[in-house]
Amino acid sequence: MPTPSHKELINLYRHKIRPAINELEIYRKKFLQKSIITTIFIIPPMFIMQFKLVPDIQQLLHLSSQDPIVFTSIGILLIGALFAYLSYQQLKLYRRFFKRRVVKIIIQAINSNFIYSPNKYITRKEFDKSHLFKHKHINRFHGDDYVTGKLNDIQFHFSEIDAKKVTGSGKNKHTVTIFHGIYVILDLPNRLQGHTLIYPDLAEKIFGSVIGRFLQKRKTVLRDDQLIELEDINFEKHYVVYADDQIEARYVLTPDIMENLLAFRKKYKFPIYIDIFPQKAHIGIATGSIFEPGIFQKAVTFKSVKQIAETFQLIENIITSLKLSPNKTHLTN
């Protein structure tokens, strides 16, 4: 399944996506109109009346809470809420239209056998089978844009996932994004025994190899696995590997796979997280939201279509490079 070339993408954009964009623009403009009306004409007067004028007038004129001016302010408040609700509904329509028409067209152009479900996402139960974010105590988990299909004989599914850790409440509420991007799950026919985890290497990048490795080794005290020090210095600069078994980690991370992962890191700049374990591989690509339409600018540009296609290409490349050779399916310990 070759990802569309630049020329094919231009054709796709001109002949299939552009006609859909015109319709999409109507939704976007309606949403913007309603938002502007709500913001400029309803919300400020509503606040002024509610918090400043109404109590002042009430006090000055000795009016009771049943007086018409109080009813007027409540009325404006309700109209404001109604406009806010309507603009939110318009936004939902706009997003739905974008996903059902534009995203679907792009995905179908990439591979007509892929199935796209805009509202579904990878379940928390599946996500938790990987050890990638096991120690991060995620308590907010949401997603959308679920795609399932088969690539090079490997069954896969992915969706956008937004995983956060929220601590405290009220003014002390603190939210940390643990992962936000595309999360891919592959069915890999292997008989591995443990987990091999690959993370973007921040410690070595910030503190250099000596202090960085020292910090990584200290980190293993909190983990159940071991730090794997690989012989490829460039790979070590960009990734850090933890695994249950030193030999199995090297069996999975052959020099070729290390080279491919390094090339992805250099080309795409997105942090990549990988866990390969019995029968599965989980891959997190921290792209942020990519299947969302623009609101204050044109909904879809050629650049955004290209970005979606490139993300698919990245997913495909990772799947191809991680595909264990048929011989590796015999792995037993």
Binding site: E229, I247, N327, L331
Partner: protein
């Protein structure tokens, strides 16, 4: 007095950490070597099956098959790590040569039994490569520790010596000329 006690305490603590780290690294090397041994054992066990599968097809390669059998016996009875490494390197070359010459025997190449044996062998080779890389990582870590200050002092007192890395032989390092091999 307090300073002397504190300094002695610190020194003892340092000695304790260095000694334990050295023992741990030495054991990691032994453990990594055991990993290679396990894979070599798998290969030794597989070899007779390969030889018996190819014997009836490869009448002209009898000499190679005999050499392979002899090398396997020698490698199984090797006395130390270095000898074992050298014998296995020779065994590897002979085995690779044999697999290349299979190209000249289409009937053998198509045999399901041989294909399965070949796949198992490739898998063992990949596991062997991974085990060797793990061994080299453990040896590098060990060698660094016994050469760096201050752990080198304790390592010298304990009589620890540098260990050899697994290196591919000069013949294996050369790019394989497949055309020549097929013509040979």
């Amino acid at each position: 007095m307090t300073i002397i006690i504190a300094s002695t305490g610190f020194l003892l603590l340092l000695l304790f950490f260095i000694y334990n780290s050295l023992i741990s690294k030495k054991n990691q090397v032994t453990n990594a070597y055991a990993g290679i041994d396990a894979q070599l054992k798998k290969r030794y066990d597989l070899l007779p099956n390969i030889i018996s599968a190819v014997k009836k097809y490869m009448e002209h390669e009898k000499e190679v098959l005999t050499e392979l059998t002899e090398l396997r016996t020698q490698a199984l009875n090797s006395q130390n790590e270095l000898q074992s490494m050298q014998l296995n390197s020779q065994l590897n070359q002979k085995l690779n040569g044999l697999l290349v010459s299979v190209e000249n025997y289409p009937e053998l190449k198509a045999s399901q039994n041989f294909i399965q044996l070949q796949n198992t062998l490739y898998d063992i080779e990949e596991q062997l490569a991974a085990s060797r890389r793990a061994f080299n990582a453990a040896v590098t870590d060990y060698n660094n520790t016994i050469e760096m200050f201050p752990s080198n002092i304790i390592a010298n007192l304990l009589g620890y010596k540098r260990k050899h890395l697994f290196e591919i032989s000069d013949i294996e390092r050369k790019n394989v000329n497949v055309a020549n091999l097929l013509n040979s």
